[in-house]
Amino acid sequence: MFDLDKWQEIITTIEKNKLRTFLTGFSVAWGIFMLIILLGSGRGLQNGIEAQFASSANNALWIWSGQTSMAYKGMQPGRPIRLNNEDYELLKKIYPDVEYLSGRYSIWSNQTLSYKNQYGTFDIHTVHPDYDEIELIDMKKGRFVNETDIKEFNKYVVISTEVEKALFKDGTEPVGTYIKVADIPFKIIGVFSDLDGRNNNSRAVYLPISTAQKVFGGTNRINTLVLTAGDASVEETKLMEQEIRTYLARKHKFDPEDDRAIFMWNATEEFERFQNLMGGIRIFIWIIGIMTIIAGIVGVSNIMMIVVKERTKEIGIRKAMGAKPWSIISLIMQESILITGIAGYVGLLLGVFLLETVSAQVQSEFFRNPEADFTLAVAATVILIIAGAFAGFIPARKAASIKPVEALMDE
């Protein structure tokens, strides 16, 4: 029900008490402002960390080798464990239905890439075909390594956009062109981009692992094995860890209890840990935000209480003139909702504005794109209206219950 006269009346009262209204509104605006900043920053933190996870599959299990640290079956500790193609095949046998599985063998000795007279040093990784799904590589042109490349030992290379930028300054189309990888010519079959804040994955090239083992004398060595666990739960992936450890211990003859022989990094577990952390942070932020808003509400309620006190006589006059209690209640409630609503909206806009401004300036590894989304804005608006109604309710009830004869005697 829209009552123009009532609104005019409310606006008149507000105009009469500009400073008081401003101060009241400020506490609410501040509450909402803080809530938006906190939630936006929380989102920024989440985005940042999620981006870290987004750089590779968050259900991956990475396995790499170390040295034994425990004597086992007469063998001294300190024996290096070396993973190889057989381990890759072993994993394939244990998990025939595995989502993605790849080995990785990285070239550390000569990392020079060259095209014509352009040179550069880049990370050279050699992998199986599934690796693009694990590292979450975004193919821009051409294709990634495939099974045929592995079988036929194709001298193909997939380069990053970064490499393209460095070597193809003359604008030559890289796909189909040959470049030298450690002085051996490889044909470029694809260009990818891999946004990653942490690793230099955007400064990498990928070769078929079989070709590399042959060409660079790696025989059958693999540095890292990685597989993804599909939608397995954390418990299931931990079980997988145990299984793999047992199999590898048997094969490489080390104590299954030896945690220095092979290392594992369980992304599923880490991701869940991160999600729990984010959930905790979110709850914490909401609690603080709501508390701040409550402080604002108490402020508004307090002021409305004073307003009612100040206007007691006027309310008495109105009642004598025939004002019904409901008309007094709605007068106070509407004023309260109006102040809370407008002030809250100002706080909301300022908060969003600040987030947008800061967002452009602050982009770090663990903090990016702080934002307050539409749902949040709607939620905040609903909170504001409820808050305003709450703040106004008690004073309005008090105003309505004033006896006209007492109100008229009030000076």
Binding site: L4, D5, T12, T13, K16, K313, E314, G316, I317, R318, K319, A320, M321, G322, A323, K324, P325, W326, S327, A400, K403, P404, V405, L408
Partner: protein, 237 residues
């Protein structure tokens, strides 16, 4: 119009119980001009408040225009006040941040009359009171007499059956007081019942019936024959 029988009212202040009205029987017919006199504390204002349903009596029967006022809530009381009663107060009780026109139009606002219509009627009543030129002024820009005429306009705009005036001349000088009485007499001649609470004898002398309250009882109730007439400002050409 107003029938009171055996009305009692007491106030409790702390541990003391103050028995203000001790069984008032009073009948006011339509069109009467009555004054209620009495020393302070005699209960005359309390009586007026009960008649105006601003306060509720403890005991006895009160009928306003035939309707028994008993166990009514504030919403109903407000509706009854709005329909039957106009108030004039000693301290005017105008709303300070509203213009003269808005003040006068207030009872119509609570009747749900449209803004346009009530502003037109308010202007009409201001004109009757000779205050049309002041309609956009705030109450604090008016003199005492003007304020009281404004209050009277407000008390009349919703065409009540009864006007209740609590010391209407209490804050005015004697010249203005007489003008005010002229006005009330003129209104009374239109058929509106008027009850005035006053402690000023010369004001009471200008009403048709004088009731004296003494310690919560009616001490004296007599028709007043002497009625001094002057040309009313209310019926100006």
């Amino acid at each position: 119009m107003i029938d009171l029988s055996n009305i009692h009212k007491s106030y409790i202040t702390g541990t003391n119980r103050l028995h203000v009205l001790k069984g008032i029987d009073l009948h006011v017919k339509k069109g009467e001009l009555v004054s209620i006199m009495g020393s302070s504390g005699s209960g005359k204002s309390t009586l007026l408040n009960i008649i105006g349903i601003l306060d509720i009596h403890d005991e006895g029967d009160y009928r306003l225009n035939g309707q028994l006022i008993h166990n009514i809530n504030e919403t109903k009381a407000a509706a009854l006040r709005n329909k039957f009663i106009g108030f004039v107060f000693q301290s005017f009780n105008l709303i300070s941040f509203k213009t003269a026109l808005e003040n006068v139009a207030l009872p119509l606002y609570y009747q749900g009359v449209s803004r346009k219509k009530r502003n037109r009627m308010a202007a009409e009543y201001l004109d009757k009171m000779g205050l049309l030129d002041w309609s956009d002024h705030m109450p604090n820009e008016l003199s005492g007499g003007q304020k009281q005429r404004l209050a009277i306009a407000r008390a009349m705009i919703h065409q009540p059956k009864v006007i209740l005036a609590d010391e209407p001349t209490g804050a005015l000088d004697s010249q203005t007081s007489y003008e005010m009485m002229d006005l009330l007499q003129a209104i009374n001649r239109e058929g509106i019942t008027i009850i005035i609470v006053t402690h000023e004898r010369d004001i009471a002398e200008r009403t048709n019936r004088i009731i004296r309250l003494r310690d919560g009882n009616i001490g004296d109730d007599h028709q007043n024959g002497i009625k001094k007439e002057t040309t009313g400002v209310f019926n100006r050409p």
